[in-house]
Amino acid sequence: MPRLPSAKGWVVRAAPRRLGISRFVSRLPILGDVRLDRRLGWVIPVFIVLVTGIVGYNAHATAHERGSALVVNIASRQRTLVERYTKDVMLVIDGFQADPGHSGAILRQTADALLDGGSVAAPQGSDERVEIPAQRDWKVRRKLDQDRRLIDDLTRTGDELLERGRHDPGYSADVTRLRVLSAQLSSVSNDAVGEITRHTEASLSRLVRVEIALGLLSALAALAMGLLLRRAGAEQAAQFRSLVHNSSDLITVIAGDGTIRYQSPSVERMLGRRAADLVGMTLIDLVHPDDQHHVTAALAKLVETQRATGDFECRLQHGDGSWRHAESICTNLSGDPRVGGLVLNTRDVTERTVLEQQLTHQAFHDPLTGLANRALFSDRVDHALARAGRKGPTAAVVFLDLDDFKTVNDTLGHGAGNDLLVAVADRIRGILRPADTAARLGGDEFAILLEDVQGEQEALSIAERVTFALAEPFTLEDHQLLVRASLGVAVAEPEHRQADELLRNADMAMYLAKANGKGRCERFDPSLHRTLVERFELIGDLRQALERGQLVVHYQPIVELTTEEITGLEALVRWRHPERGTVPPAAFIPLAEETGLIIPIGRWVLEQACQQARQWQHRTGRKLSISINLSARQFQDAGLVDDVTTALRHADLDPGSLVLEITESLLMHDTDATIARLGELKALGVRLAIDDFGTGYSSLSYLRRFPVDILKVDKSFIDAVAGNGEDSALARAIIQLGHTLRLQTVAEGVEAPQQASRLRTLRCELGQGYYFAHPLDADEVAALLERHGPAVALATSKETPAG
């Protein structure tokens, strides 16, 4: 149901049900844009019918008038013919030459034609014949009928008179009768002519009246049509005005020189300006300076062609000074006299534009930190590479990866991790130059594009500034957090044309920094590429090593220092690479740690060592302990406790025989999760040892808080234990600390008898090292245990190959 505008506002009207003719009429092309309603649809056909009627009636009246005039003419001729006939009869009687028969025949023929219509001789007396219509008026017909009867009487009387002759007794009476009939015919003919004339005049009078009536009706119809057309036009004009006034779009008419000639009132809503104030201004005055050029160009192009249409976007100044984004469609109607200018239909697209800008920003920025994302960063690097010349300033990329960020996520939660990323981003942003671009590539990876650097030194200098910026502790949820990052720097070379290549180089340099101990910055060197390729190959081989049985477990005996009896063994994994030979643990354990392969490898070692220990216990009947190293990643693995439980159950090993060695750094984060995990392991009955004690964040507090059973004193202290230096004192202090805390102490790396002797003096309980035995494979350990000999004998005899 259409909503139509009315003087009282918008009302709902039922759709007019139009008949076919009015629908047809309302669509006549001559009406142009005017849309007729139902009333007007009827006026036009009425008008057409009336005009057609007038024309038709006029033609009919003209024909009728002409026919009537002819009939009157011919009827008038009858009187002359009667006189001629009478005269001809008398002439013949008097002996003169005449032909009354011919006159009588014409009389009769004419009388018949006048009454019933037909062909008669033309009134002008030529041989031409004319058709006259039958008379339909009853009065006329009666008179003409009488006329015909009288003619019959006349001609019959004439014939009788001619037969009688002048001397016949009835001659006189017949002559009198002939004269009387002639007079009667004259009278009747005149009467008929008069009647025909009156009838014709009456008909013509009716015709005139009808024509006047039709003319009046036509005039009325034309007037009504004019009024309704005017009303329809006025309604449409009002509707158009209403649309223009109430439209949210701006409708502007500008002259060829850009002067505003008309402005719709909606400009007040959109730009906070009064329409009247804008008329006379130039449109360009409202356009943002940055947009003026392309708007001017677009308008100039449109001015050249009539009815051409184009569109453009620009910013228009609001009355309050702000800028609104607008989209305009412009049509050149300067050739239309009703418009005479360029019509702009302008829509406020500010919200849409802002949204687009937001979406664009989101598409190219990291939503968490607000830094550029990988796509934008790659684009910027591409542009920087394109600008960088072969000489002079160049571009560099710094790749930054936070060290141990996973630990932060796992211990403080992802919320804190995100906060840290934001804080890191802020610090990076704070030290960059305006032309540089910082990006977060994902996770804890950041990258910095340095443009216009003079060389590698400048890039390294900026990377160092980044390192310093991150060195300050971060405060997260009341925690003071020291964050380190590994950085890699790559400077663009002339052959670099792709962003990916430069990014990869910086990534590899960062990788080197990680491999070299983290918390440092490395620069990319072309040789590094080969090194890293080899590293990746090694990782690939390591993934298959377990399946292919290339990993083996070696065991290093742990002896009681006073008796030098073997009380336990430390399990150490070895990789026998088919091409590289034996790969040292220092070369592949970090890779396994980094790739997560340490989890399955550690689980396998755990299973192997437990089963081997149980087997040796069974054979020797001695309660040998088995020590297994746990990496940080293993310790954080949620399946650790299950793995230990499974290994113990599979091996049927007493949990008290299993010693799990963890490093000090693992205990660095004194968190509830760490305590809980240690508690779960202790609950199994296994013992916990702190490996390499004294090298890390040695803290007396965690020795008290955590359920530790054994301290393994690092080899660096043992090396000096036999001397008198500070390190010797430290070794003594550590051993004394173990005594104080009632912890068992194990001296690592004992390589000389003096060291063993000194350790015994210090009442260190256990020791391990090359002095007693090198790491041995399972068979060698079995043989050693079979002999029941003291381990020291093995060490001194040097029978054991290096592990």
Partner: protein, 160 residues
């Protein structure tokens, strides 16, 4: 406005009925006075009535003798020709009235022919009433158009 809300609602049907009533009232107010006027115009019958039928070419009257006094001739022309009706007092026989020099029409000015009254131009189907006072005597009723009288269009009327 008082009564606007609770008064009669002028629907389209109401307008139509009101318009029809106005038209009927207008017609009644026009027709009734005309009918009344016609009744007043109609004269009351007076004197002797003689019905006369004219046709080609006879005069037929309802009576040939009437008393003297006011006479109303109710004329009807059956046609088909146009006729006239002439009343003369004469001592001539109806078919012996003196003619004019053309020998075709009665000379109404001749001695012995006393023209009383006449009605002219009676067209076919015309009705007309001609009233006159007739003294006792001999009268002839005729049509004096050319040839009509001689064609037999005359009749005698005696007034006593």
């Amino acid at each position: 406005m008082p009564g606007r809300g609770d008064g009669m609602v002028w629907t389209r049907a109401t307008w139509r009925w009101t318009g029809a009533a106005v038209v009927v009232l207008a017609l009644v107010s026009l027709v009734v006075p005309l009918a009344a006027a016609r009744r007043h115009e109609r004269p009351q019958p007076a004197g002797t009535v003689v019905d006369v039928q004219l046709d080609d070419f006879h005069v037929r009257r309802s009576t040939d003798a009437i008393p003297a006094g006011m006479v109303r001739f109710r004329l009807v022309n059956n046609g088909p020709s146009t006729h006239e009706f002439v009343v003369v007092r004469t001592y001539h026989a109806p078919d012996k009235l003196p003619l004019q020099r053309d020998g075709l029409t009665v000379d109404e000015e001749k001695p012995g022919v006393d023209h009383v009254d006449e009605a002219e131009g009676l067209d076919i189907a015309d009705h007309r009433t001609l009233t006159m006072g007739l003294a006792p005597g001999h009268y002839v009723l005729f049509c004096n158009l050319e040839g009509h009288y001689l064609g037999g269009m005359h009749a005698a009327l005696t007034v006593r």
